[in-house]
Subunit: 412 residues, 2 copies
């Protein structure tokens, strides 16, 4: 039986009719290789922005239901055009909206969660030898209301379809060639990873890698759907993300070094050190839906302590306002902030079985005379906040020190 | 109980966000007058053209299914934006695609016929006090395929909804103030008609009036849905179209004079006059899907005859090619054509009960020294083909002669 593959193409891959034709050629080539192909597409390049602009001319506070109704048209345009382009190449293809293929979501308009996918209709069409094209980013509630899935929604659609089609390979066609050991724009010797585990990809995504958003990876991990991150513009193999498979990573301690320069550090100084204090502080930030990343509180010997945390730089003004109120409420001394920082992290499942990874990281930074302002660790990552001016040199030094520069032993 | 009204707004009425806001105000005003309002909207001004242009960059022969998938997005954008605009005015509104409100069509993509409308969902929403906005021009097959209804499709949607909502008034908001006794651009003294019968409107539509297309009028007549043709840009009462109601038209012989300058006359000369000849000729034209309008064949005294007919000027080259083949096949002498013609017609249910209307028409044209080239009649209309240069003066003369210029007796 032919294998099924789900291919997802983002907005830049289908930015205009010419690119849509190129995607059609890739899809047909895949079919000729003997696959049954399901394609998920996003809206054409700037379509979504144009629709948002239209709605802004009407209201600053659109109803989320109507906003979804509006935005969902973008992907519907793409799927129809891609189907036409595939027909033009002499192959059978049929397009569907999310609603039509039974992508059922909850009713959280603009950020709906997929609760079920009925793969039956797609399988029927595949059985007829057709290429099936599905509008990404959208679904339908049980009451047939049109919903959208929020940021990274098309990736989510692709993973959900892969799952409903028996866990077939889910190809994410992007503008990069795969997941790299570090950002190739910073580290010239960065290498494309052939394989990566879901957990590592998740850490990388949350630590600054732009390749895949965490949401679709979490979804893929939950249902064990393999993801192939590759370039829309080349035929090279990219990075395959799947469950941890031990032999594959034998001897590889660190899979990558990531960098995030978009955070800011905030410190509430001289906070009374008593139970419930942290809860009180972060409750206010949570209510304001401010996404707090690292939180650092050290032991105190004076019944007072300093509490530091990082937030997105874009949230700095809002956070500052709330923090000042907190300072008053808890009778702290003051609040300081610093957006001249960078977070550099190393990620790798291998660190679980290799002691001394953290020590090595600190040592590398120390030798470069880089001061570490904050540290936080997870099971498979270690992050250090440092001064922004040291960001690139820290990434390069870590990349070299952990043996990512040279040719790695072939893992395939 | 509040009365329901269906209001339809075409593409020019919702051409941009400003106009959408104006439509929102009209809709809200109607609601405040105590109506339950259902709104049907077309795609924003040039949206459909833009979508067609995109598809042309991909293929010259798009699949009709995918074409409908593409075009249906236009109205979906409009309904969402109009809902937002009504919310902005502080009123409740909810938008739906054709599929969502159960407009079920056959599977003739790009020119689907409405086979059923389930008004239940709309009634539920109206009962909640909401304004319901429905995407025009589109429906769904029983297999949940998206279809479009072809030219004038949004009008059809509006009539179908009026029917399913108990035959309520169907307001067609257009860029004219109603149906006039003649085109006001030609006849300065033309008057807006307060009432008109379906049959007269149908004759007028097929004889050149641009106000409403025949298709939605036929549909309205079939289900006895009253139509109110009025201007989107004023609050004046327009023309109400409904079944013939005798007292209303008492004494009114002619309701209007129409003009069509878009036809061409073709004559196949010296055709053998034997059974089956006309059938043979028009079969070829029908196969080529050429829309033949008038057909004139006079008696012959020589076993040979001339056969004349009119076709749209745009079809002249294709028709000529077919006609030349016909001349060969039936051994006729030759084919001639003339696109320097105009068809002027008078329409009115009153002519059924008033003899001498045709004679009067011919007399009016004769007095103006206008030669009549072809004549055809229906039960409620008489059409004459004349030279194009006489078109406007013929219309004016007929308008005056049949008493349409002066103030008509009030018919209300």
């Amino acid at each position: 039986m032919e294998k099924i593959v789900v291919q997802k193409y983002g907005g830049t891959s289908v930015a205009n009719p010419e690119r849509i034709k190129s995607v059609a050629e890739r899809v047909v080539a895949t079919k000729k290789q003997g696959y049954k192909v399901v394609v998920v597409v996003s809206a054409l390049g700037d379509t979504t922005d144009r629709l948002i602009e239209l709605s802004k001319q009407i209201t600053d506070h659109p109803s989320e239901r109507e906003y979804d109704m509006l935005l969902a048209t973008g992907e519907q345009v793409s799927v129809a055009l891609l189907a036409m382009a595939i027909h033009e190449l002499g192959h059978e293809a049929i397009s569907f909206t999310g609603a039509q293929v039974g992508i059922i979501t909850d009713t959280s308009f603009s950020k709906a969660k997929v609760i079920n996918v009925n793969g039956e209709k797609i399988e029927q069409e595949l059985a007829k030898g057709r290429i099936v094209i599905v509008a990404g980013f959208q679904g339908m509630t049980q009451d047939q209301e049109i919903t959208t899935l929020g940021r990274g929604g098309s990736n989510l659609t692709a993973v959900a379809l892969s799952k409903s089609l028996g866990g077939c390979m889910c190809e994410m066609n992007t503008d990069v060639e795969g997941v790299f050991t570090a950002d190739p724009r910073i580290v010239k010797t960065a290498q494309k990873l052939d394989y990566l585990s879901y957990d590592e990809m998740l850490e990388m995504a949350s630590l600054g890698s732009q390749v895949l958003q965490a949401r679709s990876v979490i979804f893929a991990k939950k249902f064990d759907v393999p993801i192939h991150v590759r370039s829309s513009f080349s035929n090279k193999k990219g990075t395959i993300i799947l469950k941890e498979a031990k032999p594959m990573w034998e001897g590889v301690v660190i899979s990558g070094v990531t960098l995030d320069k978009k955070e800011a550090k905030m410190t509430i100084c001289d906070v009374p050190d008593k139970p419930g204090m942290a809860a009180q502080i972060f409750k206010h930030l949570a209510e304001a839906e401010i996404n707090v990343d690292m939180i650092i509180q050290n032991i105190s010997r004076t019944r007072r302590t300093d509490l530091s945390f990082t937030v997105p730089q874009s949230e700095l003004p809002r956070t500052m306002k709330i923090a000042k109120q907190i300072v008053k409420d808890v009778k702290a001394e003051k609040v300081t902030c610093d957006d001249d920082i960078a977070k550099v992290s190393i990620v790798g499942v291998g660190m679980k079985s290799h002691p001394g990874v953290a020590a090595k990281m600190f040592d590398v930074l120390a030798k470069k005379k880089i001061n570490i302002e904050m540290i936080s660790t997870s099971e498979i990552s270690i992050s250090c906040v440092i001064g922004k001016k040291h960001a690139e040199s820290a990434v390069k030094a870590l990349h070299t020190a952990f043996g990512l520069d040279a040719k790695k032993p072939e893992e395939k």
